[in-house]
């Protein structure tokens, strides 16, 4: 019984959202606000039970891990703007997280992205089939020409201009492929909802 009611709720909310396709209306706004409310509530609960209590507060209060006071204190400073006199203190959690995240990203971008990707670009042109050599050459040239397009320190004229133009062609093929995939993604989402309506709700498929 509860399951059936749940499916009906889901179906009616789905139709309320789709009513926007005709024009903006109160049903759509209602559904939109329910979504924001439910999502925010869900996030708060899950964050508390999965992380904040077992990792931060429980070790502090029940296991005496006093050093947990530091992240909690720094985190609470996020609320500093509520007291104008100390509002500047909000910069402490911001700079702390930025400092850690930026340092980590520097090392990992070099180790995890730039080096392996560079390595994968040095492809063999001999000792492989003609077709593979041609494909490898296209990758090498494509990467170089795309990078040249983003080189703005010199005017794109002559050899630089031609190279940048070839770079644009590579990017256009890539953007075209991305566009094709974008359409695919959006259509899939709609298919998912129609499947729900026809299978779970109406039971016709």
């Amino acid at each position: 019984m509860m399951n059936t009611i749940g499916i009906w709720i889901g179906a009616l909310l789905t139709l309320a959202i789709y009513s926007f396709l005709y024009k903006d209306n109160p049903f759509y706004k209602l559904a939109e606000n329910i979504f924001v409310g439910v999502s925010a509530g869900y996030w708060a609960v899950v964050l508390w039970f999965d992380y904040a209590w077992p990792n931060l507060f429980e070790p502090l209060f029940k296991k005496g891990q006093w050093f947990n006071i530091f992240p909690i204190f720094i985190g609470i400073l996020m609320f500093a703007p509520l007291i104008p006199r100390i509002s500047w203190m909000v910069r402490i959690p911001l700079t702390f997280t930025m400092g850690v995240a930026m340092a980590v990203s520097i090392t990992q971008i070099v180790q995890g992205d730039i080096f392996p990707q560079l390595q994968a670009t040095f492809l063999p042109l001999t000792g492989v089939s003609f077709f593979d050599a041609f494909s490898n050459l296209l990758i090498i040239c494509g990467v170089i020409f795309t990078l040249i397009y983003f080189y703005f320190s010199k005017e794109h004229k002559g050899v630089l201009g031609i190279s940048a133009r070839i770079g644009i062609w590579f990017m256009m093929v890539s953007f075209g492929a991305s566009f094709g995939y974008t359409i695919m993604a959006r259509v899939s989402l709609f298919i998912g909802r129609i499947y729900f309506l026809l299978h779970n709700w109406l039971g016709v498929i």
Binding site: L21, Y22, S39, Y42, W43, V46, L47, F49, D50, Y51, P54, N55, E58, P59, V100, A101, V104, S105, Q108, I109, Q111, G112, D113, P116, Q117, Q119, A120, I139, S174, A177, S178, Y181, T182, I183, M184, A185, V187, S188, L189, F190, I191, G192, R193, I194, Y195, L198, V204, I205
Partner: protein, 273 residues
């Protein structure tokens, strides 16, 4: 007003209606079109087939209801493959709702295969902190994960005790809809700890993963609902991925038709000028 002028002013709601029809009709009257298998999808399948029984696979459900239609069918198919091969699943989510969606799939398939919670699979829920968290996780799981999604201490579960660091994992499979997600598993977790990473992404994200596929940093990839349909074909499971492929085909044909028609109108307007 001739036909081209009329078409150029076509009400967008007629386009909407045609799209809806193109999705609904093939669902009610299936065409059962055959699905071809691409190499990135086969790579994921082969990777799972190559793992010895009892290996631990970390499954990260890094998506939310907004991309559930694309990634949930792949989640179910992948979990089914793992359980069929008697692999252990250690599930978590970098997105809050992802851990719950993954849990629905996990419990459903585990029940079918008589898998025991705590021994064959666990779900440790949502993990905040994104990329930075992945680095500390790989070094020491117990620093980051204290309890599972039910509040049970992970140390009290056999699978929780077994996974102490990234070294105890045979591979990572991420179902990813954005940030944090697959990129972070590759450039933070794989690069630092060397664990093989496979992924299922929304179709929008799939083209961005090809540089990582070609560099070998990503072993295999399921791109969008089509990727899920391919995986379902490989594991012989008729799920939502395969069922959606007829509609996907018809809508793509319709949209190619729209693009063609739009360009015919452009040609006509140019010639008229």
């Amino acid at each position: 007003m001739n036909i081209f002028e009329r078409l150029s002013q076509l009400d967008r709601r007629i386009i909407f209606l045609l799209v809806a029809i193109a999705v609904i009709v093939p669902m009610i009257v299936p065409l059962n079109l055959p699905v071809d298998i691409t190499k990135p999808v086969k790579n994921v399948y082969d990777k799972i087939e190559s793992l010895p029984e009892g290996s631990v696979v970390l499954v990260s459900t890094d998506y939310d209801p907004g991309s559930e239609a694309e990634l949930y069918p792949a989640t179910e198919a992948f979990i089914e493959h793992c359980f069929r091969r008697n692999l252990k699943i250690y599930m978590m989510g970098l997105w809050p709702a992802g851990s719950e969606l993954g849990n629905i799939a996990l419990n459903k398939i585990a029940k079918y295969y008589n898998k025991k919670y705590g021994e064959d699979f666990i779900n440790v829920g949502y993990r905040p902190g994104g990329a930075v968290m992945l680095l500390s996780l790989g070094r020491n799981f117990s620093d980051v994960i204290k309890v599972d999604y039910q509040g049970i201490p992970v140390d009290s579960l056999p699978l929780g005790r077994r996974v102490k660091s990234a070294r105890d994992l045979s591979m990572v499979m991420t179902f990813s809809a954005g940030d944090p997600g697959i990129i972070h598993w590759i450039i933070y977790f794989h690069a630092r700890y060397g664990v093989p990473v496979c992924g299922a992404t929304t179709a929008i994200m799939a083209p961005q993963q090809y540089p990582y596929l070609s560099s070998g940093q990503l072993v295999g990839l399921l791109g969008g609902l089509k990727g899920a349909a391919e995986y379902e074909t490989l594991v012989e499971r008729r799920g939502r991925g395969l069922r959606g492929m007829d509609s996907q085909s018809i809508v793509h044909l319709l949209l190619v038709g729209f693009i063609g028609l739009g360009n015919v109108i452009l040609l006509y307007q140019r010639r008229k000028k």
